[in-house]
């Protein structure tokens, strides 16, 4: 790969990492959500419209993206948080589908099916690494806080968390706000790097790939999604020389293998600390995130 190709690939890996952190923020509280893709789309198109219409400085655009994302996070949480896990995931997928319909049907603001051009001033390493560093810092500080422990508890077993006096709704609301803020920033960064956004920029494809990156990297530590996004973006590029058109097959196979044999992902602190022997005889740890829904079974 040439140097320019490397730089482009790494930049997209960085933006994907920001999206992955956003998915991680709600997964941390036991919510599987693709809503970040919708938040990112709204952030990006607002950024595009305002910078074209009002000549908004890029930095304000980024701040606005974060604020809008967080606000949408609150709204979304208010609507969907009471659903049980499978239905919640489906509702967020529905949001992504509706997002594309909105983009196509609001051509005055979004450019419709043709998409729109956006200024690329934020598309630099400094902004990207800055955003990632802030997101990573916030998550790492939260991990050791009361919120972090409460989020772990809610994810492992909501019923137990409630008996410990933790409000699961409240924790999941915070997860959605964090998720929205990161996704808003990621949307603006994605738009700046691409300098063009259309109805398919933020769609199911990005959603599935982001979710896959989170699980690949490890959904139990904030560094996991970043590692996952890097591996997931760079690996197909490296393999393109060897595999030609079949470059993504390896990532797919890898994903299935990881979820079966390393359910906690590549970054798994518990494994690093050799704590593994303690969990003998228990269900694999990746299982616990949604024990409640696993117990819901359907009888006709």
């Amino acid at each position: 790969m040439s140097t320019t190709a490397w730089i482009t690939t790494l930049q997209f890996a960085g933006v994907n990492a920001l999206f992955a952190l956003s998915v991680y923020a709600s997964l941390w509280t036991g919510v599987l959500s693709l809503a970040p893709i919708f938040f990112g789309a709204v952030g990006a198109f607002t950024f595009g419209y305002l910078s074209a219409a009002l000549g908004l400085p890029p930095f304000l655009g980024l701040v606005l993206g974060v604020v809008i994302g967080a606000g949408l996070g609150v709204l979304t949480a208010g609507i969907v948080i009471r659903l049980s896990s499978h239905y919640l995931a489906m509702a967020t997928i529905a949001m992504v589908l509706i997002g594309r319909v909105l983009i196509i049907n609001l051509p005055d603001y979004t450019g419709g099916a043709a998409g729109t051009l956006v200024p690329g001033e934020l598309g630099t390493w400094l902004w990207l690494i800055g955003c990632l560093a802030i997101a990573g810092f916030v998550l790492s500080r939260l991990a050791g806080s009361r919120f972090g422990f409460a989020a772990d508890a809610v994810r492992e077993d909501p019923a137990v968390a409630q008996t410990l006096g933790i409000s699961t709704r409240h924790i999941q609301l915070v997860g959605f706000i964090l998720s929205g803020a990161f996704a808003g920033a990621a949307g603006v960064m994605q738009a700046s790097f691409l300098q063009y956004i259309g109805p398919d920029t933020f769609y199911t494809h990005l959603g599935f790939v982001t979710l896959a990156a989170v699980v690949l990297g490890g959904a139990f530590h904030w560094a996991g999604p970043i590692v996952g996004a890097l591996v997931f973006t760079i690996l197909p590029e490296l393999l393109r020389d060897v595999m030609g058109d079949y470059d993504r097959v390896v990532t797919g196979v890898l994903l299935v293998a990881i979820i079966i044999y390393m359910p906690r992902g590549l970054v798994d602190l518990r494994r690093f600390r050799l704590f593994r022997h303690r969990s003998r005889g228990e269900a694999p740890p990746g299982a616990s995130a949604s024990r409640d829904s696993a117990n819901q079974e359907v009888v006709s």
Partner: protein, 295 residues
């Protein structure tokens, strides 16, 4: 009036493809507990493999169609053997199969694109029946009649199989509790393999018919079906395949009517708007099934 009747029939044909796809999707969701993102690629491969057999292999269309559907079914079996089965054995919870299905989706979509190329292909006109017929003032393509007939057959067959046969009882038992089912003499492994084959095979039929309906075969064929089928399953509820099928047909009719009388940009808005509304207000679907929830 003639236009309305014509568009109703067109909508019925479009919706029947969604309904067929939704049946397979609902089977996997209800009986195996998997939200299968890769289901659209099963449909794609059903269409692609038949297309390849007709064009490259020179086979008769009907033979190629049967082989293509069997191939799609085998892909479902492979997914069960290599991904979903091992996860179930490890008791990996309900998110893990979604992730595994994303992996399968990546593989099958990528191979499909490499296999057929990025452009859209068409069946040669002379191998597929294509002379339009006029019945009661409505022009019907043979493909459309075939689609509606297939839907009626598949819904009836699958419903009777699940509700009236010993095998159906075994499937229901396994989906409630596979260990208890094993105790009373059901082989859960085989049962789920057959369900996986059926579901993926039906997806293959849907993909093939979708390619036949507008004579377009492309690697992304199944993705559109996935979204509409997903909407049909969520709105209709996935416990009873008749609900999902009815909503699938309704979505098709609404789509065609709204692009005729409102605007073609608007048709997805209606479908997905209803989807979100139903999810938020009535998450078990319009035709909900009695649920037993263990604490």
């Amino acid at each position: 009036m003639g236009l309305l009747a014509q568009q109703l029939f067109n909508g019925l044909a479009v919706g029947s493809v969604y309904a067929l796809f939704a049946i397979g999707f609902a089977l996997i969701l209800a009986r195996m507990g998997i939200l299968n993102v890769a289901h659209g690629t099963f449909a794609t491969w059903g269409a692609l493999s038949s297309f390849w057999l007709v064009v490259q292999g020179g086979l008769n269309f009907w033979v190629a169609a049967v082989l293509g559907v069997v191939f799609a079914g085998l892909l479902g079996v492979l997914a069960e053997v290599f991904a979903f089965g091992p996860l179930r054995k490890r008791n990996a919870g309900s998110f893990a199969p979604i992730i595994a299905s994303i992996g399968i989706w990546i593989v099958l979509l990528n191979v499909a694109e490499a296999f057929i190329g990025p452009t859209t292909k068409s069946f040669p006109i002379d191998v597929v029946p294509s002379t339009p017929m006029e019945i009661g003032g409505i022009v019907m393509l043979p493909a459309h009649i075939l689609i509606v007939a297939t839907l009626i057959f598949v819904v009836t067959a699958v419903h009777l199989l699940l509700s009236r046969s010993r095998f159906g009882a075994a499937v229901r038992a396994v989906s409630v509790d596979s260990r208890s089912a094993a105790i009373v003499g059901v082989n859960p492994r085989w049962t789920l393999l057959v369900v996986a084959f059926m579901a993926a095979g039906i997806a293959g039929i849907a993909g093939l018919l979708s390619g036949l309906a507008d004579n377009n075969v492309s690697f992304g064929l199944g993705e559109a079906l996935l979204l509409k089928g997903f909407a049909a399953v969520v709105v209709g509820g996935y416990g009873d395949i008749r609900g999902a099928a009815a909503v699938g047909v309704t979505i098709g009719v609404l789509e065609v009517l709204s692009s005729q009388y409102i605007s073609s940009d608007f048709r997805d808005a209606i479908t997905f708007g209803i989807l979100l509304l139903v999810l938020v207000t009535r998450p078990q679907g319009l035709f909900r099934e009695r649920q037993l929830v263990r604490a």
